[in-house]
Amino acid sequence: MFDRDIWQEIFHSIRSNKLRTFLTGFSVAWGIFILVLLLASVNGMQNGFYDQFNDNASNAVYIHSRTTSKAYAGFEKGRRIQFTNDDVDYIKGSFKGDFEFITPVFERSTSARYKEETGSYRVMAINNEHIFIQKVNISQGRYINKSDVVGGAKVAVIGKKVATDLYKKEDPLGKFIEINGLPFMIVGVFTDDKDEGAESMIYAPITTYQRIYSNTSDIDQIMLTYNPDFNLDEAMDFSNKITVLLKRRHKISPDDQAGLRIWNTAEAFNDIGQFTGILQIMSVVIGLLILIAGIVGIGNIMVFIIKERTKEIGIRKALGAKPKQIIMLVLLESVFITALSGLIGLLFATGLLSLVGPLMDAPAFKDPSVDMSTIIIATIVLVVAGMLAGLIPAIKAARVKPIVALSDK
Protein backbone atom coordinates (compact mmCIF):
# COMPACT_ATOMS: atom_id res chain seq x y z
CA MET A 1 0.00 0.00 0.00
CA PHE A 2 2.78 2.44 0.83
CA ASP A 3 5.03 1.06 -1.82
CA ARG A 4 6.51 4.04 -3.61
CA ASP A 5 6.34 2.28 -6.96
CA ILE A 6 2.59 1.80 -6.84
CA TRP A 7 2.13 5.49 -6.17
CA GLN A 8 4.44 6.33 -9.00
CA GLU A 9 2.34 4.12 -11.24
CA ILE A 10 -0.80 5.89 -10.05
CA PHE A 11 0.58 9.39 -10.53
CA HIS A 12 1.79 8.33 -13.93
CA SER A 13 -1.62 7.08 -14.88
CA ILE A 14 -3.31 10.21 -13.52
CA ARG A 15 -0.87 12.58 -15.14
CA SER A 16 -1.23 10.97 -18.50
CA ASN A 17 -5.03 11.03 -18.28
CA LYS A 18 -5.72 14.50 -16.96
CA LEU A 19 -9.14 15.06 -18.48
CA ARG A 20 -10.38 11.69 -17.37
CA THR A 21 -9.14 12.28 -13.84
CA PHE A 22 -10.67 15.73 -13.77
CA LEU A 23 -14.07 14.50 -14.90
CA THR A 24 -13.95 11.70 -12.40
CA GLY A 25 -12.93 13.88 -9.53
CA PHE A 26 -15.31 16.70 -10.30
CA SER A 27 -18.46 14.82 -9.41
CA VAL A 28 -17.06 13.81 -6.04
CA ALA A 29 -15.71 17.28 -5.30
CA TRP A 30 -19.12 18.65 -6.20
CA GLY A 31 -20.89 16.17 -3.93
CA ILE A 32 -18.74 17.04 -0.94
CA PHE A 33 -18.99 20.73 -1.73
CA ILE A 34 -22.78 20.59 -1.64
CA LEU A 35 -22.82 18.38 1.45
CA VAL A 36 -20.61 20.75 3.40
CA LEU A 37 -22.55 23.82 2.29
CA LEU A 38 -25.83 22.17 3.23
CA LEU A 39 -24.57 21.20 6.66
CA ALA A 40 -23.10 24.65 7.17
CA SER A 41 -26.38 26.29 6.17
CA VAL A 42 -28.29 24.25 8.70
CA ASN A 43 -25.65 25.18 11.22
CA GLY A 44 -26.03 28.83 10.29
CA MET A 45 -29.79 28.57 10.70
CA GLN A 46 -29.37 26.99 14.10
CA ASN A 47 -26.91 29.65 15.17
CA GLY A 48 -29.29 32.29 13.88
CA PHE A 49 -32.22 30.92 15.87
CA TYR A 50 -30.30 30.60 19.07
CA ASP A 51 -28.85 34.01 18.61
CA GLN A 52 -32.31 35.55 18.39
CA PHE A 53 -33.28 33.97 21.65
CA ASN A 54 -30.02 34.80 23.28
CA ASP A 55 -31.26 38.34 23.52
CA ASN A 56 -33.02 36.93 26.55
CA ALA A 57 -31.74 34.40 29.00
CA SER A 58 -31.97 30.91 27.55
CA ASN A 59 -33.58 29.68 30.77
CA ALA A 60 -36.31 32.32 30.96
CA VAL A 61 -39.95 31.57 31.77
CA TYR A 62 -42.73 34.09 31.07
CA ILE A 63 -46.12 33.85 32.75
CA HIS A 64 -49.06 35.95 31.53
CA SER A 65 -52.53 36.07 33.01
CA ARG A 66 -55.46 35.66 30.62
CA THR A 67 -59.21 35.16 30.57
CA THR A 68 -60.70 31.80 31.55
CA SER A 69 -62.50 29.73 28.95
CA LYS A 70 -64.15 27.28 31.35
CA ALA A 71 -66.48 27.68 34.28
CA TYR A 72 -64.83 26.38 37.45
CA ALA A 73 -65.29 26.40 41.21
CA GLY A 74 -68.44 28.48 41.05
CA PHE A 75 -66.97 31.06 38.68
CA GLU A 76 -68.34 31.60 35.22
CA LYS A 77 -66.11 31.37 32.23
CA GLY A 78 -64.69 34.50 30.68
CA ARG A 79 -63.23 35.70 33.97
CA ARG A 80 -60.16 37.92 33.73
CA ILE A 81 -57.30 36.56 35.84
CA GLN A 82 -55.24 39.19 37.63
CA PHE A 83 -51.79 38.47 39.06
CA THR A 84 -50.56 40.50 42.01
CA ASN A 85 -47.32 40.91 43.92
CA ASP A 86 -48.57 38.07 46.13
CA ASP A 87 -48.21 35.64 43.23
CA VAL A 88 -44.55 36.55 42.91
CA ASP A 89 -44.03 36.11 46.64
CA TYR A 90 -45.90 32.83 46.45
CA ILE A 91 -43.60 31.49 43.73
CA LYS A 92 -40.56 32.76 45.61
CA GLY A 93 -41.77 30.93 48.69
CA SER A 94 -42.75 27.66 46.99
CA PHE A 95 -39.85 27.15 44.61
CA LYS A 96 -36.73 28.09 46.54
CA GLY A 97 -33.71 26.84 44.62
CA ASP A 98 -35.70 26.16 41.46
CA PHE A 99 -35.46 29.71 40.19
CA GLU A 100 -32.59 32.14 39.79
CA PHE A 101 -34.15 35.55 39.20
CA ILE A 102 -37.75 36.68 39.27
CA THR A 103 -39.55 39.94 38.59
CA PRO A 104 -43.11 41.15 38.44
CA VAL A 105 -43.90 43.17 35.32
CA PHE A 106 -46.35 46.01 35.05
CA GLU A 107 -46.64 47.42 31.57
CA ARG A 108 -48.38 50.53 30.25
CA SER A 109 -48.24 52.77 27.22
CA THR A 110 -47.72 56.36 28.25
CA SER A 111 -46.81 59.71 26.86
CA ALA A 112 -43.47 61.13 27.86
CA ARG A 113 -42.12 64.63 27.61
CA TYR A 114 -38.89 66.54 27.85
CA LYS A 115 -39.21 70.29 27.35
CA GLU A 116 -41.04 70.71 24.03
CA GLU A 117 -40.50 67.17 22.81
CA THR A 118 -43.13 64.52 23.46
CA GLY A 119 -43.68 60.93 22.41
CA SER A 120 -45.69 57.83 23.24
CA TYR A 121 -43.73 54.92 24.68
CA ARG A 122 -44.20 51.68 26.52
CA VAL A 123 -43.15 51.75 30.14
CA MET A 124 -42.16 48.46 31.64
CA ALA A 125 -42.06 48.52 35.40
CA ILE A 126 -39.86 45.82 36.85
CA ASN A 127 -37.52 45.07 39.72
CA ASN A 128 -33.72 45.04 39.71
CA GLU A 129 -33.49 41.34 38.76
CA HIS A 130 -35.14 41.95 35.41
CA ILE A 131 -31.85 42.80 33.72
CA PHE A 132 -30.65 39.23 34.22
CA ILE A 133 -33.75 37.78 32.60
CA GLN A 134 -33.99 39.96 29.51
CA LYS A 135 -30.35 40.98 29.24
CA VAL A 136 -30.79 44.72 28.85
CA ASN A 137 -27.71 46.26 27.28
CA ILE A 138 -26.85 49.43 29.21
CA SER A 139 -24.87 51.88 27.09
CA GLN A 140 -24.84 54.76 29.54
CA GLY A 141 -25.38 55.06 33.27
CA ARG A 142 -26.87 52.13 35.15
CA TYR A 143 -29.96 49.97 35.42
CA ILE A 144 -32.73 50.10 38.02
CA ASN A 145 -31.13 48.90 41.25
CA LYS A 146 -32.43 47.35 44.44
CA SER A 147 -32.65 50.56 46.43
CA ASP A 148 -34.63 52.16 43.59
CA VAL A 149 -37.13 49.33 43.97
CA VAL A 150 -37.20 49.30 47.75
CA GLY A 151 -37.48 53.06 48.00
CA GLY A 152 -39.87 53.47 45.08
CA ALA A 153 -37.52 55.99 43.49
CA LYS A 154 -38.76 57.98 40.53
CA VAL A 155 -35.97 56.89 38.21
CA ALA A 156 -36.10 55.58 34.66
CA VAL A 157 -33.85 53.80 32.18
CA ILE A 158 -34.72 54.83 28.64
CA GLY A 159 -34.09 53.25 25.27
CA LYS A 160 -31.77 54.92 22.78
CA LYS A 161 -34.68 55.83 20.53
CA VAL A 162 -36.38 57.65 23.43
CA ALA A 163 -33.13 59.45 24.14
CA THR A 164 -32.68 60.67 20.58
CA ASP A 165 -36.38 61.52 20.22
CA LEU A 166 -36.61 63.66 23.29
CA TYR A 167 -33.09 64.79 24.07
CA LYS A 168 -31.69 65.17 20.56
CA LYS A 169 -28.04 65.98 21.09
CA GLU A 170 -28.31 66.51 24.83
CA ASP A 171 -26.99 63.99 27.31
CA PRO A 172 -30.11 62.53 28.98
CA LEU A 173 -28.27 61.17 32.04
CA GLY A 174 -29.37 62.99 35.20
CA LYS A 175 -32.11 64.89 33.31
CA PHE A 176 -35.75 64.46 34.08
CA ILE A 177 -38.35 62.86 31.88
CA GLU A 178 -41.99 63.55 32.45
CA ILE A 179 -44.01 60.34 32.41
CA ASN A 180 -47.75 60.71 32.89
CA GLY A 181 -47.10 64.16 34.22
CA LEU A 182 -44.63 63.01 36.87
CA PRO A 183 -40.90 63.68 36.66
CA PHE A 184 -38.53 60.68 36.65
CA MET A 185 -34.79 61.04 36.72
CA ILE A 186 -32.95 59.24 33.94
CA VAL A 187 -30.25 57.00 35.41
CA GLY A 188 -29.40 54.94 32.34
CA VAL A 189 -29.77 54.48 28.58
CA PHE A 190 -29.95 51.10 26.87
CA THR A 191 -29.55 49.83 23.34
CA ASP A 192 -30.81 46.71 21.58
CA ASP A 193 -29.25 45.94 18.22
CA LYS A 194 -31.42 42.86 17.73
CA ASP A 195 -34.69 44.72 18.06
CA GLU A 196 -34.87 48.43 17.39
CA GLY A 197 -38.47 48.53 18.55
CA ALA A 198 -37.24 47.71 22.04
CA GLU A 199 -35.21 50.90 22.05
CA SER A 200 -38.37 52.96 22.36
CA MET A 201 -39.11 51.48 25.77
CA ILE A 202 -38.70 52.92 29.23
CA TYR A 203 -37.91 50.86 32.33
CA ALA A 204 -38.98 52.04 35.78
CA PRO A 205 -39.10 50.46 39.25
CA ILE A 206 -42.23 48.35 39.79
CA THR A 207 -42.91 49.79 43.23
CA THR A 208 -42.86 53.35 41.97
CA TYR A 209 -45.16 52.56 39.11
CA GLN A 210 -47.66 50.58 41.16
CA ARG A 211 -47.89 53.46 43.58
CA ILE A 212 -48.56 55.93 40.79
CA TYR A 213 -51.30 53.70 39.48
CA SER A 214 -53.49 54.18 42.57
CA ASN A 215 -51.45 52.06 44.90
CA THR A 216 -52.20 48.85 43.13
CA SER A 217 -50.36 45.59 43.64
CA ASP A 218 -51.62 44.30 40.29
CA ILE A 219 -49.08 42.97 37.80
CA ASP A 220 -49.43 41.89 34.17
CA GLN A 221 -46.71 39.33 33.89
CA ILE A 222 -44.17 37.36 35.87
CA MET A 223 -40.73 36.74 34.41
CA LEU A 224 -38.22 34.39 35.92
CA THR A 225 -35.25 32.24 35.06
CA TYR A 226 -35.10 28.65 36.26
CA ASN A 227 -32.07 27.05 37.85
CA PRO A 228 -29.48 26.94 35.03
CA ASP A 229 -28.43 23.45 36.08
CA PHE A 230 -31.82 22.05 35.04
CA ASN A 231 -32.00 19.84 32.00
CA LEU A 232 -34.94 20.06 29.62
CA ASP A 233 -37.11 17.64 31.60
CA GLU A 234 -36.45 19.36 34.90
CA ALA A 235 -37.09 22.75 33.33
CA MET A 236 -40.40 21.62 31.84
CA ASP A 237 -41.32 19.96 35.11
CA PHE A 238 -40.71 23.20 36.94
CA SER A 239 -42.88 25.32 34.65
CA ASN A 240 -45.61 22.68 34.71
CA LYS A 241 -45.63 22.75 38.51
CA ILE A 242 -45.94 26.54 38.52
CA THR A 243 -48.84 26.26 36.10
CA VAL A 244 -50.66 23.80 38.32
CA LEU A 245 -50.16 25.84 41.48
CA LEU A 246 -51.08 29.17 39.90
CA LYS A 247 -54.21 27.65 38.40
CA ARG A 248 -55.16 26.34 41.82
CA ARG A 249 -54.48 29.73 43.43
CA HIS A 250 -56.61 31.55 40.89
CA LYS A 251 -59.32 28.92 40.68
CA ILE A 252 -58.73 28.10 37.05
CA SER A 253 -59.84 24.70 35.82
CA PRO A 254 -56.76 22.45 35.55
CA ASP A 255 -57.66 21.68 31.94
CA ASP A 256 -58.36 25.27 30.95
CA GLN A 257 -55.62 26.23 28.53
CA ALA A 258 -56.70 29.85 28.32
CA GLY A 259 -56.60 31.05 31.94
CA LEU A 260 -52.91 31.68 32.01
CA ARG A 261 -50.16 31.38 29.53
CA ILE A 262 -46.71 30.16 30.47
CA TRP A 263 -43.89 30.24 27.97
CA ASN A 264 -40.75 28.29 28.74
CA THR A 265 -37.67 29.09 26.65
CA ALA A 266 -36.37 25.56 27.23
CA GLU A 267 -39.28 24.23 25.22
CA ALA A 268 -38.63 26.63 22.37
CA PHE A 269 -34.96 25.72 22.35
CA ASN A 270 -35.90 22.09 22.26
CA ASP A 271 -38.25 22.71 19.35
CA ILE A 272 -35.50 24.55 17.47
CA GLY A 273 -33.11 21.73 18.25
CA GLN A 274 -35.56 19.21 16.85
CA PHE A 275 -36.30 21.33 13.82
CA THR A 276 -32.68 21.90 12.92
CA GLY A 277 -31.98 18.25 13.73
CA ILE A 278 -34.47 17.24 11.05
CA LEU A 279 -32.93 19.73 8.65
CA GLN A 280 -29.52 18.31 9.45
CA ILE A 281 -30.63 14.76 8.74
CA MET A 282 -32.27 15.94 5.53
CA SER A 283 -29.13 17.68 4.37
CA VAL A 284 -26.99 14.67 5.21
CA VAL A 285 -29.35 12.50 3.17
CA ILE A 286 -29.33 14.94 0.26
CA GLY A 287 -25.58 15.31 0.47
CA LEU A 288 -25.09 11.56 0.56
CA LEU A 289 -27.38 11.11 -2.44
CA ILE A 290 -25.30 13.61 -4.38
CA LEU A 291 -22.18 11.84 -3.18
CA ILE A 292 -23.56 8.48 -4.26
CA ALA A 293 -24.19 9.94 -7.69
CA GLY A 294 -20.55 10.98 -7.71
CA ILE A 295 -19.40 7.56 -6.60
CA VAL A 296 -21.50 5.81 -9.23
CA GLY A 297 -19.98 8.26 -11.67
CA ILE A 298 -16.48 7.29 -10.57
CA GLY A 299 -17.36 3.62 -10.74
CA ASN A 300 -18.64 4.09 -14.27
CA ILE A 301 -15.62 6.02 -15.36
CA MET A 302 -13.33 3.47 -13.74
CA VAL A 303 -15.08 0.67 -15.62
CA PHE A 304 -14.59 2.69 -18.76
CA ILE A 305 -10.95 3.24 -17.86
CA ILE A 306 -10.47 -0.48 -17.39
CA LYS A 307 -11.93 -1.10 -20.83
CA GLU A 308 -9.60 1.50 -22.24
CA ARG A 309 -6.69 0.01 -20.33
CA THR A 310 -7.50 -3.63 -21.07
CA LYS A 311 -4.52 -3.88 -23.34
CA GLU A 312 -2.23 -2.33 -20.76
CA ILE A 313 -3.51 -4.67 -18.07
CA GLY A 314 -2.99 -7.60 -20.44
CA ILE A 315 0.57 -6.47 -21.03
CA ARG A 316 1.19 -6.14 -17.31
CA LYS A 317 -0.17 -9.62 -16.74
CA ALA A 318 1.96 -11.07 -19.52
CA LEU A 319 4.94 -9.44 -17.85
CA GLY A 320 4.08 -11.15 -14.59
CA ALA A 321 1.65 -8.88 -12.72
CA LYS A 322 -0.36 -10.85 -10.18
CA PRO A 323 -4.13 -10.29 -9.94
CA LYS A 324 -3.63 -8.78 -6.50
CA GLN A 325 -1.25 -6.19 -7.90
CA ILE A 326 -3.71 -5.23 -10.62
CA ILE A 327 -6.54 -4.85 -8.10
CA MET A 328 -4.34 -2.71 -5.89
CA LEU A 329 -3.44 -0.48 -8.80
CA VAL A 330 -7.04 0.20 -9.79
CA LEU A 331 -8.35 0.44 -6.23
CA LEU A 332 -5.69 2.85 -5.06
CA GLU A 333 -6.17 5.01 -8.10
CA SER A 334 -9.87 5.21 -7.40
CA VAL A 335 -9.37 5.94 -3.70
CA PHE A 336 -6.75 8.51 -4.49
CA ILE A 337 -8.90 10.38 -6.99
CA THR A 338 -11.95 10.23 -4.75
CA ALA A 339 -10.14 11.32 -1.62
CA LEU A 340 -8.20 14.07 -3.32
CA SER A 341 -11.13 15.53 -5.18
CA GLY A 342 -13.28 15.19 -2.08
CA LEU A 343 -10.74 17.14 -0.11
CA ILE A 344 -10.65 19.78 -2.83
CA GLY A 345 -14.43 20.05 -2.61
CA LEU A 346 -14.12 20.32 1.15
CA LEU A 347 -11.47 22.99 0.84
CA PHE A 348 -13.53 25.04 -1.58
CA ALA A 349 -16.61 24.74 0.60
CA THR A 350 -14.82 25.74 3.80
CA GLY A 351 -13.00 28.49 1.91
CA LEU A 352 -16.29 29.84 0.59
CA LEU A 353 -17.78 29.63 4.07
CA SER A 354 -14.94 31.51 5.71
CA LEU A 355 -15.21 34.20 3.02
CA VAL A 356 -18.98 34.56 2.91
CA GLY A 357 -19.89 33.37 6.42
CA PRO A 358 -18.89 36.50 8.32
CA LEU A 359 -20.83 38.66 5.83
CA MET A 360 -24.04 36.76 6.45
CA ASP A 361 -25.86 38.03 9.47
CA ALA A 362 -29.48 37.91 8.51
CA PRO A 363 -31.92 37.66 11.44
CA ALA A 364 -32.20 33.89 11.24
CA PHE A 365 -28.80 33.06 9.77
CA LYS A 366 -25.46 33.46 11.46
CA ASP A 367 -21.93 32.12 11.23
CA PRO A 368 -22.47 29.12 8.93
CA SER A 369 -19.68 26.61 9.51
CA VAL A 370 -18.92 22.92 9.83
CA ASP A 371 -17.16 21.30 12.71
CA MET A 372 -14.09 19.08 12.61
CA SER A 373 -16.02 15.86 13.14
CA THR A 374 -18.09 16.50 10.01
CA ILE A 375 -14.88 16.94 8.06
CA ILE A 376 -13.33 13.77 9.47
CA ILE A 377 -16.46 11.75 8.79
CA ALA A 378 -16.65 13.15 5.26
CA THR A 379 -13.05 12.11 4.65
CA ILE A 380 -13.66 8.57 5.88
CA VAL A 381 -16.80 8.38 3.78
CA LEU A 382 -14.74 9.47 0.78
CA VAL A 383 -12.07 6.84 1.22
CA VAL A 384 -14.67 4.11 1.65
CA ALA A 385 -16.56 5.53 -1.32
CA GLY A 386 -13.45 5.45 -3.43
CA MET A 387 -12.87 1.82 -2.50
CA LEU A 388 -16.45 0.90 -3.37
CA ALA A 389 -16.25 2.78 -6.62
CA GLY A 390 -13.00 1.06 -7.51
CA LEU A 391 -13.93 -2.41 -6.36
CA ILE A 392 -16.00 -3.66 -9.29
CA PRO A 393 -13.67 -2.18 -11.91
CA ALA A 394 -10.69 -3.59 -10.01
CA ILE A 395 -12.12 -7.09 -9.99
CA LYS A 396 -12.99 -6.67 -13.65
CA ALA A 397 -9.43 -5.61 -14.32
CA ALA A 398 -7.99 -8.57 -12.46
CA ARG A 399 -10.09 -10.87 -14.64
CA VAL A 400 -8.74 -9.49 -17.89
CA LYS A 401 -7.32 -12.38 -19.87
CA PRO A 402 -3.97 -11.49 -21.37
CA ILE A 403 -4.56 -13.39 -24.62
CA VAL A 404 -7.82 -11.57 -25.22
CA ALA A 405 -6.25 -8.25 -24.34
CA LEU A 406 -3.22 -8.85 -26.48
CA SER A 407 -4.85 -10.33 -29.54
CA ASP A 408 -4.17 -8.02 -32.42
CA LYS A 409 -7.52 -8.65 -33.96
Binding site: R4, D5, H12, S13, S16, N17, K311, E312, G314, I315, R316, K317, A318, L319, G320, A321, K322, P323, K324, Q325, A398, K401, P402, I403, L406, D408
Partner: protein, 233 residues
Protein backbone atom coordinates in the same frame (compact mmCIF):
# COMPACT_ATOMS: atom_id res chain seq x y z
CA UNK B 1 13.72 -26.97 -21.96
CA UNK B 2 10.25 -27.36 -23.47
CA UNK B 3 8.53 -30.73 -23.75
CA UNK B 4 5.17 -31.08 -25.47
CA UNK B 5 3.31 -34.39 -25.55
CA UNK B 6 0.13 -35.03 -27.49
CA UNK B 7 -1.09 -31.45 -27.13
CA UNK B 8 -4.69 -30.72 -28.09
CA UNK B 9 -6.57 -27.47 -28.08
CA UNK B 10 -10.08 -26.61 -29.24
CA UNK B 11 -12.02 -23.38 -29.12
CA UNK B 12 -15.66 -23.72 -28.25
CA UNK B 13 -17.89 -21.34 -30.09
CA UNK B 14 -21.49 -21.88 -29.12
CA UNK B 15 -22.38 -25.44 -29.96
CA UNK B 16 -19.49 -25.75 -32.40
CA UNK B 17 -15.98 -26.59 -31.39
CA UNK B 18 -12.96 -25.65 -33.45
CA UNK B 19 -10.16 -28.16 -33.08
CA UNK B 20 -7.09 -25.99 -33.57
CA UNK B 21 -4.21 -28.13 -32.31
CA UNK B 22 -4.49 -31.84 -32.93
CA UNK B 23 -1.89 -33.73 -30.98
CA UNK B 24 1.45 -31.98 -31.16
CA UNK B 25 4.69 -33.56 -29.95
CA UNK B 26 8.04 -31.84 -29.82
CA UNK B 27 10.90 -30.87 -27.57
CA UNK B 28 12.99 -27.74 -27.55
CA UNK B 29 16.42 -27.78 -25.99
CA UNK B 30 18.23 -24.92 -24.33
CA UNK B 31 19.86 -22.52 -26.75
CA UNK B 32 17.68 -23.40 -29.73
CA UNK B 33 16.25 -20.80 -32.10
CA UNK B 34 13.05 -22.34 -33.42
CA UNK B 35 10.68 -20.93 -36.03
CA UNK B 36 7.08 -22.03 -35.89
CA UNK B 37 5.90 -21.69 -39.47
CA UNK B 38 2.55 -22.02 -41.07
CA UNK B 39 -0.11 -20.12 -42.95
CA UNK B 40 -2.52 -17.78 -41.22
CA UNK B 41 -5.00 -19.67 -39.05
CA UNK B 42 -2.87 -22.78 -38.76
CA UNK B 43 -2.69 -22.48 -34.97
CA UNK B 44 0.74 -20.90 -34.44
CA UNK B 45 -0.42 -18.23 -32.02
CA UNK B 46 -2.58 -20.73 -30.16
CA UNK B 47 0.47 -22.92 -29.64
CA UNK B 48 2.60 -20.01 -28.51
CA UNK B 49 -0.07 -18.79 -26.10
CA UNK B 50 -0.21 -22.21 -24.50
CA UNK B 51 3.57 -22.35 -24.25
CA UNK B 52 3.45 -18.84 -22.80
CA UNK B 53 0.89 -19.87 -20.16
CA UNK B 54 -1.45 -17.23 -21.50
CA UNK B 55 -3.87 -20.01 -22.44
CA UNK B 56 -4.52 -23.53 -21.23
CA UNK B 57 -4.22 -26.78 -23.11
CA UNK B 58 -7.13 -29.23 -23.30
CA UNK B 59 -5.20 -32.46 -23.48
CA UNK B 60 -1.61 -33.62 -23.32
CA UNK B 61 1.24 -32.36 -21.20
CA UNK B 62 3.58 -29.42 -21.18
CA UNK B 63 6.78 -29.28 -19.15
CA UNK B 64 8.87 -26.14 -18.95
CA UNK B 65 12.39 -26.39 -17.56
CA UNK B 66 11.35 -29.54 -15.71
CA UNK B 67 8.23 -27.93 -14.22
CA UNK B 68 4.91 -29.51 -15.29
CA UNK B 69 2.60 -26.72 -16.37
CA UNK B 70 -0.96 -27.56 -15.47
CA UNK B 71 -3.84 -26.29 -13.39
CA UNK B 72 -2.10 -23.04 -12.62
CA UNK B 73 -4.05 -20.40 -10.78
CA UNK B 74 -3.69 -16.82 -11.95
CA UNK B 75 -1.14 -15.85 -9.36
CA UNK B 76 1.04 -18.90 -10.01
CA UNK B 77 0.81 -18.40 -13.78
CA UNK B 78 1.86 -14.77 -13.29
CA UNK B 79 4.86 -15.90 -11.25
CA UNK B 80 5.93 -18.48 -13.84
CA UNK B 81 5.50 -16.08 -16.73
CA UNK B 82 7.58 -13.55 -14.89
CA UNK B 83 10.31 -16.04 -14.04
CA UNK B 84 10.46 -18.21 -17.16
CA UNK B 85 9.22 -16.24 -20.13
CA UNK B 86 9.79 -13.13 -22.16
CA UNK B 87 7.25 -12.08 -24.77
CA UNK B 88 7.71 -10.19 -28.00
CA UNK B 89 4.54 -9.28 -29.89
CA UNK B 90 3.75 -8.27 -33.43
CA UNK B 91 2.22 -5.00 -32.25
CA UNK B 92 5.01 -4.36 -29.71
CA UNK B 93 2.57 -3.87 -26.83
CA UNK B 94 4.53 -1.16 -25.11
CA UNK B 95 2.70 0.90 -22.48
CA UNK B 96 2.23 4.16 -24.29
CA UNK B 97 2.53 6.54 -21.36
CA UNK B 98 5.76 5.02 -20.11
CA UNK B 99 9.17 5.89 -21.48
CA UNK B 100 11.38 3.28 -23.13
CA UNK B 101 13.37 2.67 -19.98
CA UNK B 102 10.23 2.47 -17.84
CA UNK B 103 8.75 -0.09 -20.20
CA UNK B 104 11.89 -2.19 -20.01
CA UNK B 105 11.94 -1.95 -16.22
CA UNK B 106 8.33 -3.10 -15.80
CA UNK B 107 8.91 -6.90 -15.65
CA UNK B 108 11.66 -6.22 -13.10
CA UNK B 109 9.14 -4.32 -11.00
CA UNK B 110 6.94 -7.41 -10.98
CA UNK B 111 9.97 -9.48 -10.02
CA UNK B 112 10.37 -7.29 -6.96
CA UNK B 113 13.70 -5.85 -8.02
CA UNK B 114 14.46 -2.55 -6.29
CA UNK B 115 14.28 0.76 -8.07
CA UNK B 116 17.97 1.42 -8.50
CA UNK B 117 18.79 -2.02 -9.82
CA UNK B 118 15.78 -1.86 -12.14
CA UNK B 119 16.99 1.34 -13.67
CA UNK B 120 20.51 0.00 -14.15
CA UNK B 121 19.38 -3.27 -15.70
CA UNK B 122 16.84 -1.61 -17.96
CA UNK B 123 19.51 0.76 -19.27
CA UNK B 124 21.88 -2.15 -19.81
CA UNK B 125 19.37 -4.00 -21.97
CA UNK B 126 18.41 -0.86 -23.85
CA UNK B 127 22.10 -0.47 -24.61
CA UNK B 128 22.22 -4.06 -25.84
CA UNK B 129 19.47 -3.32 -28.38
CA UNK B 130 21.23 -0.07 -29.29
CA UNK B 131 18.70 2.34 -27.84
CA UNK B 132 20.41 3.73 -24.78
CA UNK B 133 20.07 7.28 -26.11
CA UNK B 134 16.34 6.75 -26.49
CA UNK B 135 15.76 5.70 -22.89
CA UNK B 136 13.71 8.76 -21.98
CA UNK B 137 11.48 8.69 -25.05
CA UNK B 138 7.87 7.64 -25.19
CA UNK B 139 6.87 4.86 -27.62
CA UNK B 140 5.08 7.43 -29.78
CA UNK B 141 8.45 9.09 -30.43
CA UNK B 142 10.03 5.85 -31.70
CA UNK B 143 9.93 4.16 -35.10
CA UNK B 144 8.41 0.69 -35.51
CA UNK B 145 11.80 -1.01 -35.47
CA UNK B 146 12.85 0.94 -32.40
CA UNK B 147 9.64 0.00 -30.62
CA UNK B 148 10.24 -3.67 -31.33
CA UNK B 149 13.78 -3.37 -30.05
CA UNK B 150 12.47 -1.78 -26.82
CA UNK B 151 10.04 -4.70 -26.57
CA UNK B 152 12.94 -7.13 -27.05
CA UNK B 153 14.94 -5.35 -24.35
CA UNK B 154 11.89 -5.63 -22.09
CA UNK B 155 11.62 -9.36 -22.81
CA UNK B 156 15.31 -9.78 -22.05
CA UNK B 157 15.27 -7.70 -18.89
CA UNK B 158 13.50 -10.37 -16.88
CA UNK B 159 16.27 -12.78 -17.89
CA UNK B 160 13.78 -15.45 -18.89
CA UNK B 161 14.51 -19.07 -19.78
CA UNK B 162 12.65 -18.79 -23.07
CA UNK B 163 11.87 -15.84 -25.33
CA UNK B 164 8.62 -16.14 -27.25
CA UNK B 165 8.05 -13.92 -30.25
CA UNK B 166 4.72 -13.91 -32.08
CA UNK B 167 5.27 -12.48 -35.56
CA UNK B 168 7.95 -10.08 -34.26
CA UNK B 169 8.53 -8.69 -37.75
CA UNK B 170 4.89 -8.76 -38.88
CA UNK B 171 4.45 -5.02 -38.57
CA UNK B 172 7.86 -4.05 -39.94
CA UNK B 173 9.25 -3.47 -43.42
CA UNK B 174 11.81 -6.02 -44.62
CA UNK B 175 14.88 -3.94 -43.86
CA UNK B 176 13.75 -3.32 -40.29
CA UNK B 177 12.67 -6.96 -40.05
CA UNK B 178 16.22 -8.06 -40.79
CA UNK B 179 17.60 -5.68 -38.21
CA UNK B 180 15.27 -7.17 -35.61
CA UNK B 181 16.18 -10.71 -36.69
CA UNK B 182 19.85 -9.77 -36.48
CA UNK B 183 19.25 -8.76 -32.89
CA UNK B 184 17.34 -11.96 -32.16
CA UNK B 185 20.15 -14.03 -33.65
CA UNK B 186 22.71 -12.24 -31.52
CA UNK B 187 20.64 -12.85 -28.40
CA UNK B 188 20.45 -16.51 -29.40
CA UNK B 189 24.21 -16.52 -29.92
CA UNK B 190 24.48 -15.59 -26.22
CA UNK B 191 22.74 -18.89 -25.43
CA UNK B 192 19.11 -17.79 -25.04
CA UNK B 193 16.33 -20.16 -26.10
CA UNK B 194 14.00 -18.41 -28.55
CA UNK B 195 10.74 -19.34 -30.28
CA UNK B 196 9.71 -17.26 -33.26
CA UNK B 197 6.25 -17.57 -34.77
CA UNK B 198 6.18 -16.41 -38.39
CA UNK B 199 4.52 -17.05 -41.70
CA UNK B 200 7.35 -15.50 -43.68
CA UNK B 201 9.81 -18.11 -45.06
CA UNK B 202 12.77 -15.69 -45.13
CA UNK B 203 12.34 -14.99 -41.42
CA UNK B 204 11.98 -18.72 -40.67
CA UNK B 205 15.22 -19.37 -42.57
CA UNK B 206 17.03 -17.11 -40.15
CA UNK B 207 16.29 -19.57 -37.35
CA UNK B 208 18.09 -22.84 -36.71
CA UNK B 209 15.07 -25.11 -36.82
CA UNK B 210 11.66 -24.86 -38.45
CA UNK B 211 8.54 -26.52 -37.09
CA UNK B 212 5.91 -26.41 -39.81
CA UNK B 213 2.27 -26.36 -38.69
CA UNK B 214 -0.62 -27.11 -41.01
CA UNK B 215 -4.22 -27.52 -39.95
CA UNK B 216 -3.21 -28.15 -36.36
CA UNK B 217 -0.59 -30.82 -36.94
CA UNK B 218 3.17 -30.66 -37.37
CA UNK B 219 3.84 -31.52 -41.00
CA UNK B 220 7.56 -30.89 -40.88
CA UNK B 221 10.22 -30.38 -38.19
CA UNK B 222 13.69 -29.77 -39.58
CA UNK B 223 17.04 -28.27 -38.71
CA UNK B 224 18.15 -25.59 -41.18
CA UNK B 225 21.33 -23.80 -42.01
CA UNK B 226 20.83 -20.42 -40.45
CA UNK B 227 20.81 -17.45 -42.77
CA UNK B 228 22.55 -14.66 -40.91
CA UNK B 229 20.54 -11.43 -40.97
CA UNK B 230 23.68 -9.34 -40.51
CA UNK B 231 24.49 -9.64 -44.20
CA UNK B 232 21.35 -7.64 -45.03
CA UNK B 233 21.83 -4.85 -42.55
Amino acid sequence: MIEIKDLHKSYKMGSNSLHVLKGLNFNIKEGELVAIMGSSGSGKSTLLNILGMLDELDEGSYTLDGVPIKNLNETKAAQYRNKFLGFIFQSFNLINYKTAVENVALPLYYQGVNRKERQEKALKYLEQVGLKEWAGHLPSELSGGQKQRVAIARALAAEPKVLMADEPTGALDSQTSYEVMDLIQKINDDGNTILVVTHEPDIADMCKRIVHLKDGVIVEDKKVDQVRASQYV
